[in-house]
Symmetry: C2
Subunit: 314 residues, 2 copies
């Protein structure tokens, strides 16, 4: 099949294939992305993160359905190993998600353990780009975790939604300090449970101490499963979008990402040049020397890039 | 003060200072590490990971104290934002940790949000190296999370301990698939709580399905707070250490890390060469072109390394 034509024509099978090819690092995929790069820049990226069990997937599903109802096209990238999309969760969840898979406006991509092990940035970035080329209006990136992945998602997404739930106990309490800096919107899901208002109030209080930004994050209570509060979240997203676009944050962040990407790609290119120029035996020889503590790794790294340094100084 | 001499003499203040200097990327620190690199290679790295609230810090504290009682020197690196060392947890925890800070055999380093944002690998790796130079016999690396950080710790550590607790509900259930591949030793802490044996049995059953390794992970029940089961964990660590050393896994993993590090350092060096050779205006100009979709980032990355590629082909 002609993948490039398929992408332009809005064929979802072509979309799925191109993402897989790109993940596998196929040159053909990169060529298509290069040729269609001019179509990017329209998708708005929404990060959904939070600890396991708070209902991130259900919330994502309902938000996607709400946007679909407005005629928008939505991509969902699930980097969450506990997500029902990736097969991590219990059967009931997966059945509830069925409606997403039959919605022609919604395309779901699970990054599985591949995206997991390779880091959020790389696999997710290429999937985001391809979905952007395809013409998605909104792309949701769902990750789980209380660590690196949350920070990365906040850096990648235009709007980051931190999902919490009542009754998670002291853990949330302990995590709060780190969490507070990440969310643009806070959702207390499962708000029909005891303690929801208390949780929301606590988050609100914590946010009062964060004066790093002129944006004051919203705290919204939802019962995603019953579709309650979904529109409030949707409005908060639109409001935050307006804020970052009006303030210039959106444009400067996008440029920063482009810069990072160019430099990262450049480094990858040079690195593969080095690896091509270096025989396996040479590299193993250097590693052995370091392992025997004859030289240190810093000096070793300078040794292997010597041919390039000559080139730069010209 | 003469930091290098202090490190050789076993001065803990010099140790703390050198880690800070290295974290700040000070050239002086890197020079000392280079000069003392030959002293590395003796420390054994133990990763402690698991979801928040299972008692990782208490377990780490008790294990460290047990090793200290055997005359061993121990370093603890806490990359866990919820850890009492990093100030995330409740006061009671922190008081319980006091005994660690007064033990002359134990040195604790919290990576705080710095280690967090910079990724596990970099900040932690330099702290590990310096503690290794200093003469630590065991270095504990404590991380929280259900994501990238767990995978990274399993890759960095010689022995990885996955800590769980009963009563964490479905979340643990959902996380299990990913978790099972990470631990060399499984600890069910807070084993005086209801459901501990069931949790241990479930983990044990899951492990039966994992046939990737000839090492069958142990499942150990502990009540770390009451010092129960600590010696069992200690024995399991020693047993796993013997296994990886006898099987050659230890040596080959260490060599793999050295290779990765050399290549990573080389990449960093190249990146800074690129940045040096390129004026800020040139870079911004290229970024602007990509932002306007006049060129794609892949082509842009090739453009900026052209002068360097000339050097390679010579």
């Amino acid at each position: 099949m002609d993948i490039k034509k398929g992408i332009i024509d809005g064929d979802r099978i072509a979309l799925a294939k191109l993402i897989t090819m790109a993940e596998d690092g196929k040159k053909e995929a990169m060529d298509i992305i290069k040729e269609l790069y001019h179509r990017t820049g329209n998708a708005y990226l929404i990060g959904i993160t939070g600890p396991p069990g708070v209902g991130k997937s259900t919330l994502t599903a309902k938000l996607a359905r709400a946007y679909s109802g407005l005629g928008k096209k939505i991509g969902i990238i699930a980097c969450d190993p506990t997500s029902p999309y990736t097969g991590g969760a219990i059967l009931g969840d997966r059945i509830r998600m069925q409606e997403l898979f039959t919605d022609p406006n919604i395309f779901i991509r699970s990054m599985g353990s591949r995206g997991h092990l390779g880091g959020l940035s790389r696999g997710t970035r290429v999937a985001v780009r391809i979905m952007d080329i395809f013409g998605m209006d909104y792309i949701f990136i769902e990750t789980v975790g209380v660590g690196q992945s949350e920070v990365e998602i906040a850096d990648t997404a235009d709007t980051t939604i931190m999902v919490l739930a009542p009754g998670l106990g002291d853990d949330i309490q302990a995590m709060k300090a780190g969490i507070m800096e990440i969310g643009d919107i806070f959702v207390v899901n499962k708000a029909d449970r005891e303690g929801a208002e208390k949780t929301a109030r606590e988050i609100d209080t914590m946010l009062d101490f964060n004066e790093k930004s002129t944006w004051r994050p919203k705290v919204i209570m939802t019962v995603a499963q019953d579709n309650k509060g979904i529109n409030d979240v949707l409005h908060a997203i639109e409001e935050h979008m307006k804020y970052i676009k009006d303030s210039g944050i959106f444009a400067s962040k996008r440029k920063e990402h482009i810069k990072e990407e160019i430099l990262e790609l450049a480094t990858q290119n040079i690195m593969s040049e080095i690896m091509t120029g270096l025989s396996k035996e040479e590299l193993l020889g250097i590693v052995d020397k370091v392992a025997k503590r004859e030289i240190d790794p810093y000096s070793a790294s300078i040794d292997i890039i010597k041919p390039i340094k000559g080139g730069i100084q010209k």
